[in-house]
Amino acid sequence: MRHKTVIVFILLILGIFLPSVMGVQRFPKPEFESGYVEPETQFPVPRAEFLAWMDVAVLLLSLSLATFLVLKKRSRLGVFWLSLFSLAYFGFYRQGCVCSIGAIQNVTLALFSGSYTIPLTVLFFFLVPLVFTLLFGRTFCAAVCPFGAFQDLVAVKPMPMGAWLNAFLGMIPYLYLGLALLFAATATDFIICRYDPFVGIFRMNASFGMFLFAGVLLLSGIFIARPYCRFLCPYGVLLNWLSRFSWKHMNITPAECIQCRLCENACPYDAIDFPQTKKDPAGRRKQVNRLILLALLLPLLVLGGAWTGGLIHSTLSGVNSKVRLARLLQTASVSKDQPEPPEITAFRSSGIAQQQLMAEVATIEHDFLTGSRIFGGFIGLVFGMTLIGLVRTPYRTDYVPNRGTCFSCAKCMDYCPVIKS
């Protein structure tokens, strides 16, 4: 009698667990007699592909229009209205994704990862503004980027920041870009998207921390025009460098600068370069000496950066989920009393061997070591170049927009009294 119960019990257990192992249904589907028809499972479709192509078309059209308005029409009002449209379309209608800034990471991931293929539309979002900037300057920032448009709306009382502060805060975008590239190349995270302060506003939905960040940014944006663009935007780094070599670029005056100084304070972003004609042999010699010193210092800065990067590489790799899991597994085997983290539960049920994970993590760690060294060296280079840029005073006779930092927003144009004959 007793062993019969045991057998029944075992059968019952098997009945419950075997099917799930073998993928069989525990409870067969009933044969309905009442003529009941089973409802169909609904699969709502995602946003159609042609709409993504429409976004690309809107991007191309608005960029062309922005370029025309800035370079040909020289119309600040036109730029303003176009930027409102971009804010509405790319910001509030498209809800921010995918934007050109974030696309940096998709491109990087696609370049470094074997498994990710970038959709063509995303590649377009990345490349089109770059090509336009290389041809005509940063007209994308002037009127097409929704982030720029948003910040321009709140910049009611911009104040000049001074060359040194501008230069030092201006290094943050390089840092941000470097980290974003490192994390994207190692398939770790898309930090540009993660810490995007505006997307939460477009969606009216974000964590408290991100809302706080956005609030601080927008409040400071009242006095510091476009704080994100100038001191955070990683795409801005690329645009800045392309714009320096652009084929055409907007100018403050439609004809010849007459040094009337009326535009001196016109730019809310401190992007106007003043004339530099003083000839002072003593000061010049001092400057040359400083430049030589900095040029000698530069390799040391790069090496020091690379060395520091190597030191912090395991902190950076801790962001990677696989690395985190491996470290969790190592510590969890020691402390048994705490509840098991879901990561470990999931890993155990996945059936992947621990050695396989560890081998994978070893390559990731190695990639991070290399990547962090390059990143560190890059930051050292940026630091050195920033110092050199502060010391160097190139000869200039006119008031001109700085090709790198100018957003081509056309705000300064109306200050110029010169009329094209």
Binding site: F27, E38, P39, P44, R47, P119, L127, L130, F245
Partner: protein
């Protein structure tokens, strides 16, 4: 003037180099492995986020980590897999004795599952998507003692398809991945679903 010209020349040269660099990157990405990103036979097109129910452990983070509130992840019922059980382990709490539909008896914290009588002894279970928060409690129950017909899925009419899905980066089981737009669901028991 000479200096000006030389500067101009260097600038033009660098401009062409930059153009070339961008063209190289674009070309590499578009024609990688000889499989162009365009045309009829392209291997890969636009993607959307989806979670694999086979990997999901119903940790509850789908409910809390989506940028949308309530989450774009919902319980999806694969009716064709359902046993229409009277004692549904996805509907009732495990300790339940009497099978009435009081809210305190239900696993679902928001009573998003509707239980309707079909015929003796079978009941149909439907999900009210407007209520469901994607917590996965029912999915866990159904998977543990039932057929596993209740499954979590990203519902694409609700999902914003973020460039970086904020559930994906917090999912402990790595269940999230980018899937092809043309095949956007990974429901068990359905095979490929070309929409």
């Amino acid at each position: 003037m000479d200096k000006q010209n030389r500067r101009q020349f260097i600038r033009t040269g660098i401009r062409w180099i930059l153009f070339g660099g961008m063209a190289l990157v674009a070309g590499d990405l578009i024609f990688r492995k000889g499989e162009p990103l365009f045309g009829k036979n392209r291997k890969s097109g636009p993607t959307v986020w989806q979670l694999d129910p086979a990997k999901c452990i119903q940790c509850g983070r789908c409910a809390t980590n989506c940028v949308k509130t309530p989450s774009a992840v919902k319980c999806t019922h694969a009716y064709s897999m359902c046993g229409y059980c009277n004692l549904c382990s996805g509907y009732f709490k495990p300790e339940t004795k009497t099978l009435d539909t009081g809210a305190e008896k239900q696993l679902c914290p928001v009573s998003a599952i509707k239980r309707t009588f079909v015929e003796d002894p079978f009941y149909e279970y439907t999900i009210d998507e407007a209520l469901c928060i994607g917590c996965g409690k029912c999915v866990k129950g159904c998977g543990a003692f039932g057929n596993g017909s209740l499954q979590l899925q990203v519902r694409h009419h609700l999902c914003d398809n973020c460039n970086d899905c904020s559930i994906a980066r917090n999912c402990p089981s790595g269940a999230f991945s980018r899937v092809q737009l043309t095949d956007p669901y990974l429901l068990k028991g359905f095979g490929k679903k070309n929409l």
